[in-house]
């Protein structure tokens, strides 16, 4: 890459707009903030010099259609830039910054962020900041195999008790499922159905312990191909019955229990995300491609009148 080193991007003799022939080194693989009063030249440095050059290099690597413009693109007014990689700029195109448009603004920023993550093939939830990941059957298999040998495990699917519980359970019986899981205990579906009182109670009780359908139970066996095939099949069944979601309940040697949620849908924090795809890449049409932005906008939008008190206080901590 650069002759001198590849730890830095070296900008030599930048003169765009008001820049006074300045040299600036920017560390690679670091987070750098460029600041200054408005009109100081920070945008001339970052956008009209650094990004402009990155864009030129990027166009060079693109199709013939894009390359035909290359000769015409204004070269940034700079002696040279070394160590630059293809650049992606996310411009703050929104100028509507009054409170009324906060929602739109944030949504657009997240749209850009989502675009950004689509580019690198990784999506982060703006709610928790954690990576959004679709679990594959293999992910769950690997997770199980990483548990200590002989760990007791139950593969479960959450039952939506608000929907005609009795009927659902009868269908499960007919399909060949026999067991439920409630309050860390197994129980027979037939037994459960025979207790009218319990069925009614479970159907009514919201926010109580969830009722699960037991898909499979096993003790972890490493290096056992039969076991591997068995749990793969079971996980597939679980994802099917659970509409893309399943729960692994484990009990370790000390008797400690744990519930872990897996899903093969692209979602996190209750939000569905658009999976990275070419459709998401058009910078010219950031909204068109994304059908989830509205949902996200609602989540991150700030309605002054709905904000809870301590949320309001947090603004003040920063005021």
């Amino acid at each position: 890459m650069s002759q001198s080193n590849n730890k830095e991007i070296i900008i030599k003799g930048a003169r765009a707009h008001n820049l006074k022939n300045i040299d600036v080194n920017i560390k690679r693989n670091k987070l750098t903030v460029v600041t200054g009063v408005s009109g100081s030249g920070k945008s001339s440095l970052v956008f009209d010099t650094l990004y402009a050059e990155g864009q030129r290099r990027y166009v060079e690597s693109l199709s013939a259609y894009a390359r035909q413009f290359l000769g015409k693109m204004n070269k940034p007014d700079v002696d040279y830039i070394h160590g630059i990689s293809p650049s992606i700029a996310i411009e703050q195109k929104v100028n509507t910054r009054n409170a009324r448009s906060t929602v739109a603004t944030s949504t657009e920023i997240y749209d850009y962020l989502k675009l950004l993550f689509a580019r690198i093939g990784v999506t982060f939830s703006p709610i928790s900041g954690n990576m959004v990941k679709r679990h594959t059957i293999d992910d769950v298999v690997q997770h199980i195999l990483a548990l200590p040998e002989n760990t007791k495990a139950y593969l479960l699917v959450t039952i939506n008790t608000e929907n005609e519980l009795r009927k659902q359970l009868e269908v499960y019986l007919q399909t060949g499922f026999n067991r439920l899981f409630l309050n860390n205990e197994m129980l027979d579906i037939e037994e459960f159905l025979s207790n009218d009182e319990l069925v009614k109670q479970t159907a009514k009780a919201k926010n109580a312990e969830p009722l699960y359908l037991l898909i499979d139970r096993f003790a972890v066996q490493q290096n056992d191909e039969d076991f591997l095939n068995r749990i793969s099949d079971s996980i597939q069944t679980a994802f099917f019955e659970g509409l893309g979601e399943c729960v692994l309940h484990t009990i370790n040697e000390e008797g400690k229990t744990q519930y872990e949620l897996f899903n093969n849908r692209f979602e996190l924090d209750g939000q569905k995300f658009e999976e990275p795809s070419v459709n998401l890449f058009s910078f010219n049409n950031p909204f068109g491609a994304c059908k989830t932005c509205e949902g996200l906008g609602n989540v991150i939008g700030i309605d002054e009148d709905l904000v809870v008190p301590d949320k309001g206080l947090s603004i003040f901590e920063d005021a």
Binding site: V37, I88, T102, R119
Partner: protein
Amino acid sequence: MVGSLYILDEPSIGLHPRDTENLIRVLQKLRDIGNTVVVVEHDEEIMQTADEIIDIGPLAGIHGGEKVSQGNIDFIKNDTNSLTGMFLSGVKKIEVPTKRRKWKDYIEIKGARQHNLKGFDVKFPLRAFTVVTGVSGSGKTTLIKKILYPAIQKHLGNYTGEKTGAHESIGGDIKTITQIEMVDQNPIGKSSRSNPITYIKAYDAIRDLYSQLAISKARGFKPQHFSFNVEGGRCETCQGEGEVTIEMQFMADIHLPCDECKGARFKEEVLDAKHNGKSISDLLSMSVDEALEFFHDETTIANKIKPLSDVGLGYIKLGQSSNTLSGGEAQRVKLASFLGKRSSSEHVLFIFDEPTTGLHFNDINKLLTSFNALIEQGHTIIVIEHNMDVAKCADYIVDLGPQAGDEGGNLVFAGLPEDLVNSKESYTAKYLKDKLK
């Protein structure tokens, strides 16, 4: 695209502080998986977490353009060359005014009870600087945007189409107000054709001047020949844009200079018309400060341009497309257009909703200076703001709350900043105290 350079332009703008934290985590992750991340920002929290800060300045335009400082936050804070660092460390700060304006006239809203407002009476001084504070959800926006603004609009006979929020009455010296303006950070014009000089209405005089030149008379050029918005003198290839835009997939649009006029925006015969050696195209490329010097003898034009310099925009180009202005710059162009009017019979009530959003500390100072200039001209300023540097400069604070929602909506305090800090109920008091030491 790991190993890429990611460039973000003020990503924190419009974000709730809680979301800023998430943004930071996301930026850090982007870096940790092997990318270079460069962010243009004023947000202190983001600066805190940066590996390195580069401060460009020290000031704007010809007084800027240099690398003032580079290092981590502790280094910047101790670098006396860095204006940013000096504000961050508190060595430099926005000064508390030595005295507060005395006021006599006021508007009074009685029985404000829209949404969560609990039916209180509140006064707003006229020809003074009022800041409305309170936690988010305390009812600030409801009071100002749902009651005060539409009620005065109605009083002025303007149709807003919006129902005025619930209140008993509005009174006081409301008759002295001739106009009400909500000034936001929205762009001054949607098209790339609008620019500062047309917005402040100084362009007409300039076109007249150019059409009066001998060469213009000989060639039959009228004022409209010097406009890039209508056919005649402008370059028709780019229709006066000076550039052509090519939309690109995967990346930002590419702007190419127009083949025909090479970016000059006008036909060659029009560019022949020169005033003191400068064509209309040269003029549009001048900064405000350069133009002030250039029009030294044309006082009418100079007086129209000067407010742009007064609000701290001396560095922007006269013909700069308005969509390249930041929100804060657009806001100041709007202020300049009012400052330029200087009509003694007008009394404009200005409302600003969080005008400091996205502004550098030093630019907040300029904004406050513009507020003062408007008040000196006999106008009234009411600002909804969380920023305590603005609140501490107020002549009068209206503090709502104490909490949000149902536990808010009360008038917690109204009066001088110095008296607000004694309020036990007010959250604002807690934060304002530090600023008034």
